[in-house]
Chain length 197, copies 2
Amino acid sequence: MPKPSSPYHHGDLRGACLRAARELLEEDGSAGLSLRAVARRAGVSPTAPYRHYADRDALLTAVASEGYGELAGFLAAAHPAPAAPDDLTAVAVAYVRFALAHPALFRVMFAEPCDPGDAERAAATATFSAYVTALVQNTFPGATAPDALATAVWALVHGLAFLHLDGELDATDPAAVDARVRAAVHAVLTTRGQDAR
Amino acid sequence: MPKPSSPYHHGDLRGACLRAARELLEEDGSAGLSLRAVARRAGVSPTAPYRHYADRDALLTAVASEGYGELAGFLAAAHPAPAAPDDLTAVAVAYVRFALAHPALFRVMFAEPCDPGDAERAAATATFSAYVTALVQNTFPGATAPDALATAVWALVHGLAFLHLDGELDATDPAAVDARVRAAVHAVLTTRGQDAR
DNA sequence: TGTACATCAGTGAACGCGCGTTCACTGATGTAC
DNA sequence: TGTACATCAGTGAACGCGCGTTCACTGATGTAC
């Protein structure tokens, strides 16, 4: 049990920076997320974070990775073992809810700035992508093109999330958002285009 | 015919700012888009743009509105009178191509910063939204829930655009991107969920 | 148990930067008579 | 056609800001003997 307000040697500055970053994100959006602000919030000198993060991008990447984990957990909680199209709808609703509950985090997770080559981020997105593919395979075992369908499902919910986040679709009423997501997923799965061809 | 390098009284500084902003966007991404940079590029003092734009946000909004118009034109050019599911696929491909051709513009168009209440932007997005709805109604005249389907289609292509833009889907090969978009749209329109219920 | 020392985490002053915006101004334009 | 004047577009100096990052440093910790 460390003293609550010990000076010097913070104890877990790495974690504290992460937490501070998350708080700033919730309060000020991604714009307010500077290394200096994080240090300030963690009660530490502006340069202390450099002991734990190479630079600003490194912090952002860590935040994004954490976000991926949380999103995966949140979706899993929405339906532990999705096996039917309706289960998939529940997961879709959860995806959009997560985005609207943590808008700035979501932007950090899916925004260009973090360099695409980063290993940590690449691993996190790969895991996530695999989750979506498995999800679609379980809910549509007989699909002709499972990979394409997985991509489409991800894109669909991702698009719904961002259209709400960016104000193209009205996000003021959470219940209405849920309904819209359900309706969109349902519409897409029951509309038949011309076959084969 | 105005002199090419007339000093003072630019002639069309408003338009020049817009053009400069677009160039900066293509070159440096949205990060490089400052009022000062725009003024610099337009060959004018840092404060001259204030004659034509109330502030930075006003410029951004103008750029975004222009973008909406161009996107609409680009989609219309992809298929002037879409009337079948396959035509819709062509438009979907065009949407993603536009995003990848003008990544920073696309982000400005669909990013939070511009205040959601702005009339010009609201009008532009409403027009666009109506276009998508009409598009879906023409390609799926018998759809049960045309509005929901329109939302879903927009979300699908929007999601595909951003997943490519943000590196979640590999965008290095344009032909592969086109194919992926086509496959995703096709997969979604030929997969049947459980009906009614 | 006690001391010497290497290691490590955090400090604080300083750098140079570009930004948005304000202000009082001045040069060019066009209109009224 | 010529002059007086109002209007407008652009200037340039200045403000205060917060940022990322560097550097040489110092205080705390833990290990070896």
